[in-house]
Amino acid sequence: MSRRTKPVFVGKETYRRRRLIDAARLLPLLAVALMALPLLWSGGDNAAGLTTNVMIYLFGLWAVLLICVAGISYYLKSDAEPSEDGDGVDGRR
């Protein structure tokens, strides 16, 4: 492992890219939380507890997720990967 000191601040593009990677990583966690959300609605006799509502909610969530993933993936082009794995280790020789 090289002991080269990493720069404390990175260029704007690299910074954007890293935040995009953060987003790509956090999105599934958010998705899990949102998918489990309907569990709170079951039980009672309220309108939210209807299958149709949950269905609409889930498909809506699905569509939003798709758009988010498509957006992130589009900008996360695989060319020029300056910070593999996001932690700035320059592993390539």
Binding site: A24, P28, S42, T51, V54, L65, I67, L76
Partner: protein
């Protein structure tokens, strides 16, 4: 025309189309055409084999029974795809850089290429997949039966067994034809992938068509459909949280671990960038697949007579409405789902079975001889084809034995839970360097046993495999070991219960044993390669096998062993294999020899790793290896250079020391000589002057006295002349201006002459000779040679200090060289003087003896002119000189 016949014709036409598409795609790929074969959308569509007939038909049945719960099966994979940056990306990268051929291969590679582990994974995969294949066969037979029910006894002689059999045969044929075209299991099956992509489109289109028909044709639009759902028996949203989360997690795990998913996702992956497209396109596909499931289920429940199998609503709804075309389309959709799953599963399983079970056994049975003589490729291909047939046959047998009952319907999730046991080892292997082989084995075995006990065996019903008593009261009446209430976990959903316990215990075993065990070196190496894959491998790359491999080996070997040696080694092996050129087949024998050869240069472990990495898959790129090899070679070269340099320095220092000693001695000698020569010159000069003064000044000398004094003057003048002659002779010889007068003569005569000239055998000196040995003809400057001999004999006469001086002259032939030794019995020359005796002006020994110290120097110069040498021969009884003279070829031939 009865609908069943139409169905058969359409199905056959569809199958023919699939064959054609696969064939064309393979051909296009072979010609290097068809960029569209490598499009990201094809990759995305190939992922759709996740949607099998079980999901195509079964999702509706699932929804009809338990409402929205079915959607978890699609949410799990969606989550995996959304989180592609976490897991899939790494899996695909590892798969590509390690040239992974299956999930068993991945796990075994990660844990030190352990075949035991691969066998375990393969067995679990076979156990988990076989019922799933049976399920596909069942879905097709059921759907055909659904058509048959519309007409009176139209099925004729065709019973469901026959349908399943023909279907199995066709699938096996297709898979063998297009799945084993190339030997390299890591290569892409373009034909198969294209056919699957087409089937993906067909099944999506079919389901959407049925959905559109149901929503707008039967239910009367979207609001009306929603109203019908609200009015149905599944209107309430009351999915248990454990099932909701458990099933989502299970399907996500299965998505990663299913052998067929691994096949299309990792092995068939053409370009890592395709994941970016699939990350949103595949969830979109899943969303569309599930969009109309609930409406179809609700409308089916409403319109179809009670007792209709909800698993076939997709088919029976159009049939009931006399929409035969739509029904056939729906059938094709289900057919596509079933066939694509069986094809890919068969390819994936056959690769595992043949690579990790059949081939090792075959190689062990036939021993090393098979590797030497037989064509391993053909055997491997045959093994893979037989494995495909075997896997499909197993599915068929399972279908027949289970009787295609409803028990099969549940098997989908049971199967998911089975393959999910790979997850801890898979993810642990990818993200945790401390995971070990023993840990992975422990986790897999524990998890699988729990799965078998809690889920798989009970799924056949109480009493089938597990006695009802065990189910109810636990084995031997131990209550907390009840298969469906392990450790007192009662009132849990059996599936969630089994998944929870099997995965938990699996993980526990995996982590604990990993922490306690110590990995082998290869495991640690592989662990680094897998976990830090982004540091080790570029995004693209990999090279093809065969000759390219040998060439890589040659390049590497050249860098380590050196060009000529490596080429020689390779060429000799190629010749031994009966091949010309420098590239032998990379047989195990050759590799072993090469490894041995290399280990001489870089050590056994490094050689093993290097050869293994080039041959056994690309754990690091060739460039990396070359860099390592270069460094090693450079270090070795540098150190050997240093060694040579230091040896040279030592030598030079020694030479300098010797030279210094010589110079010092020479300087001393020169001083001594100067005094000697001035003495030598002064003595005669003094005599000459004295006697010439007497002759000039003294009067009345006797005539006898005059003559005596004149002769003294004459003698002294001669001495001076001789001294000056010697000096002149030497300078002429040294300057190379001497001309040789070549004559032919016999050594005996020459020695006789020299002996006589040096004072004969008379006096005190005895000269011993062996005249037989001396009968050698010579062609050289005999006068000069005689001069050398005279000098050596005279020296012996002068310096030999023995009481009875004896000189032995020995002549012998040694090859083309004539050796003449002159050995006396005196005290010889001390070692410290031996170096200087041939120098000019050197005088050794008794200073009383006259001489200017030029004789040996002249001898040496003469011998050099004659092409020979004269040297002091140490280690004899006295002073010994050896004269070496080349015998000319003409004479030597006589």
């Amino acid at each position: 025309m009865p609908i069943l016949n139409i169905l058969v014709v359409v199905s056959l036409a569809y199958v023919a189309l699939l064959f054609l598409v696969a064939f064309m795609a393979d051909r296009a790929a072979l010609r290097g055409q068809g960029k569209w074969l490598r499009a990201p959308i094809v990759y995305t569509l190939s992922l759709s084999i996740y949607c099998t007939a079980w999901t195509f038909y079964g999702a509706v049945g699932f929804a009809a029974r338990s409402g929205l719960e079915f959607i978890t099966i699609y949410l799990g994979p969606t989550l995996v795809m959304v989180g592609w940056w976490w897991g899939l990306r790494k899996m695909v990268r590892v798969g590509r850089s390690q040239r992974i051929t299956s999930i068993a291969d991945l796990i075994s590679s990660r844990f030190g290429k352990s075949n035991t582990l691969a066998v375990i994974v393969t067995l679990i995969a076979v156990i988990g997949t076989t019922p799933y294949i049976a399920l596909q066969l069942q879905s097709v037979t059921l759907s055909v039966e659904a058509f048959a029910e519309t007409g009176p006894d139209e099925l004729g002689g065709m019973n469901r067994q026959a349908i399943a059999l023909w279907l199995s045969l066709g699938l096996a044929l297709f898979t063998i034809l297009f799945g084993t075209r190339n030997f390299d299991a890591n290569e892409r099956h373009h034909g198969v992938v294209m056919a699957i992509a087409l089937e993906a489109v067909v099944k999506l289109f079919a389901l959407l068509a049925v959905g559109v028909f149901v929503v707008w044709g039967l239910a009367g639009g979207v609001p009306a459909t929603l109203a019908r759902i609200d009015a149905s028996e599944i209107a309430r949203w009351n999915v248990p949280g454990s099932r909701w989360i458990g099933l989502t997690a299970l399907s996500a795990a299965a998505f990663l671990c299913l052998p067929r998913m691994f096949q299309v996702m990792v092995v068939e992956n053409e370009d890592e960038g395709h994941l970016r497209t699939a990350a949103w396109a595949f969830p979109a596909y899943l969303m569309l697949m599930s969009l109309f499931v609930l409406p179809i289920a609700v409308v089916g429940l409403e319109l179809l007579p009670a007792g209709t199998n909800p698993d076939l609503f997709v088919l029976s709804l159009p049939l009931a409405q006399d929409r035969d075309g739509l029904a056939i389309l729906a059938f094709l959709g289900g057919f596509s789902s079933a066939t694509s799953m069986v094809i890919v599963a068969a390819i994936a399983l056959s690769t595992m079975v043949s690579n990790h079970i059949v081939m090792p056994i075959w190689l062990k049975m036939t021993g090393g001889a098979a590797i030497m003589s037989g064509d391993v490729r053909q055997v491997a291909l045959l093994a893979r084809r037989l494995s495909i047939a075997g896997v499909v046959l197993l599915g068929y047998l399972y279908f027949q034995i289970s009787g295609g009952g409803t028990a099969l319907a549940k098997i989908g999730l049971v199967s998911f839970a089975g393959v999910a046991q790979f997850l801890p080892a898979l993810l642990g292997g990818l993200f945790w360097r401390g995971a070990t082989r023993m840990g992975a084995m422990a986790g897999l075995i524990i998890g699988t046993l729990v799965w078998l006990y809690c889920l798989f065996l009970p799924s056949f019903g109480a009493g089938a495999f597990l006695p009802a008593g065990v189910m109810e009261h636990g084995p031997f009446g131990i209550g907390w070991l009840r298969p469906q209430a392990l450790f007192g976990a009662e009132h849990m959903d059996p599936l969630v219960h089994a998944v929870m316990w099997s995965i938990s215990l699996n993980m526990l075993g995996f982590v604990l044993v990993s922490l306690l065990s110590f990995p082998r070196p290869l495991e640690r190496l592989q662990a680094a390669q897998f976990v830090d894959v982004y540091q080790h491998s570029p995004a693209t790359g990999g090279w093809t096998g065969g000759m390219a491999q040998t060439e890589d080996l040659l390049i590497m070997a050249q860098r380590i062993m050196g060009g000529a040696q490596a080429q020689g080694f390779f060429a000799s092996f190629a010749a031994r294999q009966g091949i010309g050129g420098y590239l032998p087949e990379p047989t195990p024998d050759f590799l072993q020899a090469l490894e041995r050869e290399l280990s001489g240069s870089v050590g056994a472990a490094a050689a093993h790793a290097m050869v293994g990495q080039i041959v056994g898959g690309a754990t690091v790129s060739v460039e990396d290896l070359m860099a390592v090899a270069d460094e090693a070679a450079q270090i070795m070269e540098y150190s050997s250079k240093l060694e040579a340099k230091s040896a040279e320095l030592t030598r030079t220092a020694r030479q300098l020391r010797t030279a210094n000693e010589k110079l010092t001695q020479l300087s001393l000698q020169k001083d001594a000589f100067l005094s000697q020569v001035s003495h030598e010159l002064r003595t005669p000069m003094t005599s000459i002057r004295a006697f010439s003064e007497i002759l000039r000044d003294a009067e009345g000398l006797q005539p006898g006295e005059t003559a005596k004094y004149a002769s003294v003057i004459h003698d002294e003048a001669l001495r001076l002349t001789r001294l000056l002659d010697d000096l002149l002779d030497l300078s002429v010889l040294e300057s190379g201006q001497v001309s040789l007068n070549t004559q032919t003569g016999r050594l005996t005569d020459l020695l006789d002459r020299a002996e006589a000239a040096a004072g004969g055998s008379g006096g005190e000196m005895t000269i011993l000779r062996s005249r037989e040995d001396e009968a050698v003809d010579l062609s050289t400057d005999l006068d000069r040679l005689a001069q050398v001999f005279i000098n050596l004999i005279a020296n012996a006469r002068k310096y030999c200090d023995a009481d009875h001086p004896r000189l032995r002259i020995e002549a012998r032939r040694s090859g083309d060289v004539l050796q003449v030794d002159f050995i006396d019995n005196g005290s010889g020359i001390p070692t410290d003087k031996q170096a200087v005796i041939f120098e000019k002006f050197s005088r050794v020994g008794d200073p009383k003896v006259s001489g200017a110290g030029l004789g040996l120097a002249i001898c040496q110069e003469i011998m050099a002119r004659l092409g020979g040498s004269v040297s002091y021969l140490p280690g004899q009884s006295g002073a010994a000189f050896r004269v070496n003279l080349p015998v000319s070829h003409r004479l030597a031939a006589q």
